[in-house]
């Protein structure tokens, strides 16, 4: 069963279900229901309508922007039902077009062709945006904008547009009746626009702009409940924390432009392949770390992770969209897209930061009680996984995990949203329990998501996580002093299983702790259930190697050009680290294929064949070991969790454990005091610096200014006296003289016009007589 058929059948099933609901929903279905059904049923037609790749790309990103503008200007007052159907149409069409691109990518994969599209090579000339001219040399440097569409973009488009669409659908039910309903959909629109353009563009500068736009829309969405102080504070915190990362990103961009004189990703890669910066490894390192800083901010890696848990103040669908699936994946996408730019040192830093984030967030998640917070820390942990995978070179594993994680984490968030909705905005797990019977759909789908994230076999998370662990293990086997990465990631996997099942048990099993809320608990409307089901199916299937996306990832997702090019580039790099990592990755691919008995494609075989035979053993061993260990760890985590939190077989009292752990528990419960640490160090330090500067300003600069003022006052006093006594006397004397004679002369000017006429006439007559006299005198002479 090919992925195309899967997607098709899924859409048709979904459309049929929606149509069924529409026909039975009642006398008057709302416009949004109609639109949803129509879009889902007829969306695939668009696949054949928009043929040009660039046209598709433009439509994909501009449709949500259009919906944003319409909703911002006309949404609340001028459109029926707040204009949510406009957002639905826009994102629905975007999804269909994205699927059309994805479809081409899959087709290329199945026929063994290379799938790559760049606008400057395509049928449409790239668009020259602005040009700088060097005044000295007259050299003209154009900045060209365009699209860069390869299999990575195709995957990201599907993830972003798909989850965005499902979140839109979910929000129809979840946000019903909220104040600023249409503005919410407008915000979703601009978020979708910026995220889609971010994955589409071929230009670092545009990517940076979209990066900031994503930040802004995230700010708007987190602070959507503007009346809540905590929401406003969380929005501010997220925005400012991102600024720190974006500063690093900007510095990275400066270095990029300074060295390559272009922002075009393709040209940068070309220059790198030609060995542009081979002799300045430290610049390359800093450039990579700067760019990674941006990823740290957006993907909430360790030093800047503090904003993500607070961002849960936003509406839950937003959390699912932004803070679980798409926006936080932007950092991972950035590192993946710019993979050839980083060098070994940078990769090492990336790997350790990811690992630390993964383990740290996992431990925190154990102790939290807020259902969304648990999920938020879980997200942190999984993002750490991806970043660590990138760091160790498990490139396709990281993207694979990104995809599967997007689906099951979005599912988990939407499920938690459903739970919160059912319990009338109760978020504390200590007040939940026993919901399994009341909300069956939510329970089942959330269980699926949990199984997926815990790494239980045959669920998608198992495959992707297993690949990451294998990559880390292989790296550890080649470089034993970096084996700690693998151990930490393994531990984190176990903890993940533990706390996720803790969440399930506390929420859905046992006796209801809040009887009143439990009695009123109810399942959400169908618009909320449909996304859950769809996402649950995706959470199961997307990992199946030859059914879903997994196989696709094995071979085709490469950042640039063919695998051979990338491999060659990295093989040329002098250190063992990168080479090994890449060898591992390619090897995994090969192994995966042979394990499933498929004949692998020709270019892959070629690429793999370029590496040493010895690596195959390492890879094989690593994969098997990692698989066994990961199943083991996950199972033990689930069992431990059941023993602790499932009331039927409870053996361990969590409260006692907490008390036994004592200060360690406090440390973890308070999130390692990172926020407090920042408050004490950075904020306080800033305060101290500020005070010093203020004192400097007050005493020295102001003193200089005041002294200058006093000197001026003194001088001007002297000067004033001189002016009064000497200069003014002279002036007055002149004025008096003028006045004296003026009084005499002014009598001529009587103000009576007849006098003037008389005087003019008299003057005229006198002159004529004089002239005649003179003339007669001369003529007479």
């Amino acid at each position: 069963m090919s992925p195309t058929l899967l997607f098709l059948s899924g859409l048709i099933l979904l459309g049929a279900y929606c149509a069924y609901r529409l026909t039975t929903a009642g006398a008057k279905p709302s416009p949004s229901q109609w639109v949803t059904g129509i879009v889902l049923l007829g969306g695939l037609i668009l696949d054949n309508l928009a043929t040009g790749m660039a046209t598709k790309g433009l439509l994909i990103c501009l449709l949500p922007l259009l919906s944003f503008w319409i909703l911002m200007f006309f949404g609340r007052n001028h459109l029926p039902s707040g204009g949510d159907w406009i957002a639905m149409i826009a994102i629905g069409l975007s999804l269909c077009l994205s699927y059309s691109i994805y479809h081409q990518a899959i087709g290329a994969y199945e026929s063994g062709d290379e799938f790559f599209y760049h606008q400057s090579e395509g049928n449409i000339a790239s668009f020259e945006w602005i040009a700088f001219t060097n005044p000295d040399t007259g050299e003209r440097t154009p900045w060209k904008l365009g699209f860069w569409i390869d299999s990575l973009t195709a995957i990201m488009l599907m993830v972003v547009a798909g989850i965005s669409f499902l979140v839109h659908l979910f929000s129809l039910g979840y946000m019903k009746g909220e104040e600023n309903y249409s503005r919410y959909f407008g915000y979703l629109g601009i978020f979708s626009f910026s995220m889609l353009l971010l994955v589409l563009t071929d230009n670092l500068f545009v990517l940076y702009i979209c990066w900031e736009l994503v930040g802004v829309s995230s700010f708007l969405l987190i602070g959507f409940f503007i009346n809540k102080d905590s929401a406003a504070a969380a929005a501010k915190k997220a925005f400012l924390t991102n600024r720190v990362g974006d500063l690093g990103f900007a510095i990275g961009l400066f270095i990029v432009y300074n060295n390559f004189h272009t922002f075009s990703i393709r040209e940068i890669f070309d220059a790198l392949a030609n060995g542009a910066m081979a002799d300045s490894p430290w610049t390359l390192t800093f450039m990579g770390l700067g760019l990674f800083c941006g990823a740290v901010g957006k993907s909430a890696q360790f030093p800047l992770h503090i904003w993500l848990p607070d961002a849960m103040e936003g509406p839950t669908p937003v959390s699912a969209l932004i803070h679980a699936a798409t926006m936080v994946a932007a950092g991972v996408y950035l590192v993946a897209r710019l993979f050839p730019v980083f060098n070994d040192t940078a990769f090492l830093v990336i790997a350790y930061i990811g690992t630390f984030t993964a383990i740290m967030a996992a431990t925190i998640a154990i102790t939290q009680f807020d259902i969304k917070r648990v999920l938020a820390y879980s997200t942190l942990s999984q993002l750490g996984y991806m970043v660590a995978a990138l760091g160790v070179g498990a490139y396709s594993a990281a993207l694979f995990h990104l995809t599967t994680h997007a689906f099951f984490k979005a599912l988990l968030f939407l499920c938690s949203g459903s739970v919160i909705h059912a319990l009338h905005h109760e978020q504390d797990m200590r007040n939940m329990g026993g919901l399994a019977g009341k909300t069956k759909v939510t329970f089942i789908t959330m269980l699926v998501g949990t199984l997926a994230i815990s790494g239980v076999p045959f669920f998608s998370g198992f495959y992707s996580k297993d690949k990451i662990l294998a990559g880390a293990l292989e790296m550890g086997m080649i470089n034993p002093h970096h084996a700690i990465i693998f151990i930490a990631l393994l531990l984190a996997a176990g903890i993940t299983a533990f706390y996720m099942f803790r969440l399930i048990f506390m929420t859905f099993t046992g006796k209801p702790r809040d009887r009143h809320a439990w009695e009123h608990a109810h399942e959400g409307p169908w618009t909320m259930q449909v996304p859950l089901v769809v996402l649950a199916i995706l959470a199961i299937c997307s990992g199946w190697t030859h059914l879903g996306l997994g196989g696709f990832f094995q071979e085709r997702v490469v950042p640039w050009g063919t695998e051979a090019q990338v491999a060659t580039h990295h093989a040329d790099a002098p250190t063992l680290f990168t080479t090994a990592a890449f060898a591992q990755e390619e090897g995994t691919a090969v192994e995966e294929h042979s394990a499933h008995g498929e004949a692998h494609d020709e270019p892959v075989a070629n690429a793999a064949a370029m590496h040493e035979e010895g690596h195959h053993d390492v890879q094989h061993t690593a994969h098997v070991v990692a698989m066994i260990l990961s199943i083991l760890v996950a199972t033990s985590g689930i069992i431990l969790s059941a023993l602790t939190y499932w009331e039927r077989i409870r053996v361990i009292d969590p409260a006692k454990c907490a008390r036994a752990m004592g200060p360690v528990y406090d440390l973890v419960y308070n999130k390692y005091y990172v926020d407090e640490f920042y408050a004490r160090t950075f904020y306080r330090g800033l305060e101290i610096v500020r005070n010093v500067l203020a004192r400097f300003d007050l005493r020295i600069i102001d003193g200089i200014v005041n002294g200058a003022g006093r000197v001026t006052v003194f001088t001007s006093g002297k000067s004033g006296r001189f002016d009064l006594r000497v200069v003014d006397r002279i002036v007055d004397w002149i004025a008096e003289v003028c006045q004296h004679y003026g009084q005499r002369i002014r009598r001529v000017e009587s103000g009576v016009i007849q006098d003037y006429a008389l005087k003019v006439g008299g003057a005229f007559g006198t002159m004529v007589i004089l002239w005649m006299i003179v003339r007669s005198f001369f003529i007479g002479a």
């Binding site: 007849q754 007559g765 004529v768 007589i769």
Partner: protein, 171 residues
Amino acid sequence: MFDFIFFVFAFVCVGSALFVAFTPNVVHAALGLASTFATLAGFYILLGADFLAITQIAIYVGGILVLMLFGIMYTHNIARVSGEQVMMQVGPALLVVVLTLFTLVATILSTAWPAKEVGPPQPTADRIGVLLLTDYLLPFEVAGILLLVALVGAVVIAQTPVRKSIEESID
């Protein structure tokens, strides 16, 4: 006959102008001015400028003189109907004017004017019209604009504020 009519007109013209200069009554002066204008129109006919003559009557007598009469009536109470006017500095003025007149007349008489044989007068209206719309089109348009500006300006200057007048009428 031409000479006879000229001298009659010249006599009436200068006489009525002197009347304007020396009469103490403003309204009488205005009528004297009307007489001057009318005789000037006669001069124009004598000079073959029939169009100018009618224009003189229409504009000066029908327009400007009526305006002046209006001005006089607006600025003089009906009880002061005689409108006695005092003259000032008559002596110096006479001196200056006689001096100027002497100069002018002396110049006119001492100049050798070209002696041109004048034919019978031709109709002028069409020729003036052609000139105004060809050679003098720009001055013609400018004059039109000037008249419009003068019209609006005169209204603006002379009007009393409407609201004020309404309030007064209510009171």
